[in-house]
Amino acid sequence: MEKELMNLRDEYLQTPIPKELKDVVQAALNEKPKKKPRLGRNILMSAAAALLIMTASVNVSPAAAKAMSEIPYMEKVIKVITFVEWKEEDNNSSAVIRTPAILGLENEQLENSLNDKYLSESKQLYKEFTDSMSKLKEGEKGDLSVESGYSILTDNETILSVQRYTERISASSSTESQFDTVDKKNEVLLTLNSLFKDDRYLQVISNNIKEQMKQQMAANPDTIYWVGNDDVSAFKSIDEKQSFYINKDGKLVIAFDSFEVSPGYMGEVEFIIPTNVISGLLVGDQYIH
C-alpha cells in the first residue's frame, strides 16, 4: 500500500505544469490591491472625464469647437487638450502616448517651456519604446506595453495641476507619474522651493508623512509603508524635487511612485499635508490654504 502510494506520488509530481503558471504567479505578486472607491476621487475623475470628452469633441468636430468657443468664459479658460497622439502596435507590444498641450496662457515663455517639456519628454519615451521594440524584433521575445497619458487634478481660477503618468507593462507593471502645477494668473510653474520661505519645510513635511504612514498602518493591517529608523530602504525625507500637486481644496499633496515608499501592491501613494502643519513656513496663502 505505501509502495503503491509512492508510485501514485510520482504521477502526482508529474502533474503537467502549464507554462502560464510563471506569468500568473509573477502578475499576482506584482498586483496592486483593489482600492476602495473614494468619493473625492470619483468626482475628480468625472470632472477629468468631462474635460476629456470636451477635448475629444473639439478635436474631432470643427462645428463643436466653434460652438464651444462661443460659450461665455470658454475662451478665458485654460484648456488642456490632446495635442499629439502617437500610436504604434506591433505583435504583442503597443504604445499609446498622449502629449498634453496647455493652451490659453498669456505668458508665451511659460506656455512654450511647458509644452516643449512635455513634447521632448514624450518623444524620449517613444524613442525608448521603439528602441526596445527593435531589440524585441531582433529575436528577444517579450510582451511590452507602454501607456502614457495625463489627468487634470486641479483646475480652478489660479491653479492648474496636471498629472502625467507612464505605465510600463512587461511581465510586471510599474507606473511613474510626473506632476506639474502652474499658476495661471502669474503664469509661473510652481516648484516646492518657490512655495516655501526656506528649506525647513523638507523636514516638517517628511515628519508629517511618516506620522501619516504610521497611523495608516496601525489603522489597517493591509497597509504597509517602508518607514522606520533601522532600515536602509526606509523612507527618510523628501527633497525639493519631490512630486507634488495642489488639490482642489488648496491642500498640498505629496505623491510617490509605486515601490518608492511601499511595496508594489500598494501602488502609487499620496499624502495630503494638513495646511496648519506648514502654514508658518509658506511664503503666502495664495496657493495653499
Binding site: N7, P18, L21, A28, P221
Partner: protein
C-alpha cells in the same frame, strides 16, 4: 523593517514553490484553468495578510493552507461533479496502460472525501510532516494522525472492493 522582510520572503517562497502550489490546487479541481485561478487568488490573499505570519519557518504550510481553503471555496462554488477534460482522460488512459494497479488506488483516492484526501495528498505527495499538516488544517496532531489512519483504511477497503468487482466482471 519586519514587514518588508516578510513580504520579500513570501514572494521568494511563492516563486520557489509555485509548482507545488499549482499541483496541490490541481489535485482538487483537476483542470488547469481553475488551478491557475486558485494559485492567483491565493497569492493575493497571502500578500494581503502577510502580517499574520507569526513564524517564518511555517510560511510553507501557511501557503498550503491558503491554497487548500481557496480550492475548497472554488469546489463549493462549483458544486459540480468532477468533469475530466480530454487532457486528463488522456493522462489517465496512459496511466491505465502503464501502471494498472495504481489507477485503482487513484480511483480509490478520488473516492475519498476531501477531508481524507487532503491529508493523503499532503502527507504522501507533498511530504509534509504530521505537525505541518496539523498547521495547514488547523487541527491538532492527534486528530490528523487518526484521520490519516482512517484514510488509509478506507483506501484499502475501496481497493479490495474494486478488485472484487473486477474479478466478478471477469467471471
Amino acid at each position: 523593517m519586519k514587514n518588508l522582510d516578510i513580504n520579500q520572503l513570501l514572494a521568494a517562497r511563492i516563486t520557489e514553490r509555485q509548482d507545488n502550489l499549482y499541483r496541490l490546487a490541481f489535485s482538487y479541481v483537476k483542470n488547469q484553468e481553475d488551478a491557475l485561478d486558485i494559485v492567483q487568488e491565493s497569492i493575493r490573499k497571502a500578500l494581503v495578510s502577510s502580517n499574520k505570519i507569526k513564524d517564518v519557518s511555517s510560511i510553507d504550510s501557511w501557503l498550503y493552507k491558503i491554497i487548500v481553503r481557496t480550492a475548497l471555496d472554488v469546489l463549493r462554488k462549483k458544486k459540480k461533479l468532477t468533469v475530466a477534460d480530454d487532457e486528463t482522460i488522456e493522462y489517465l488512459r496512459r496511466g491505465e496502460e502503464d501502471h494498472y494497479p495504481d489507477l485503482d488506488l487513484q480511483k480509490a483516492l478520488e473516492g475519498l472525501s476531501l477531508k481524507y484526501r487532503t491529508i493523503v495528498v499532503l502527507r504522501f505527495f507533498e511530504d509534509l510532516k504530521l505537525e505541518e499538516i496539523a498547521e495547514v488544517l488547523e487541527e491538532n496532531v492527534s486528530t490528523v494522525k487518526t484521520r490519516l489512519y482512517k484514510a488509509l483504511q478506507l483506501l484499502r477497503t475501496k481497493m479490495t472492493e474494486q478488485g472484487e468487482t473486477k474479478r466478478w466482471k471477469k467471471n
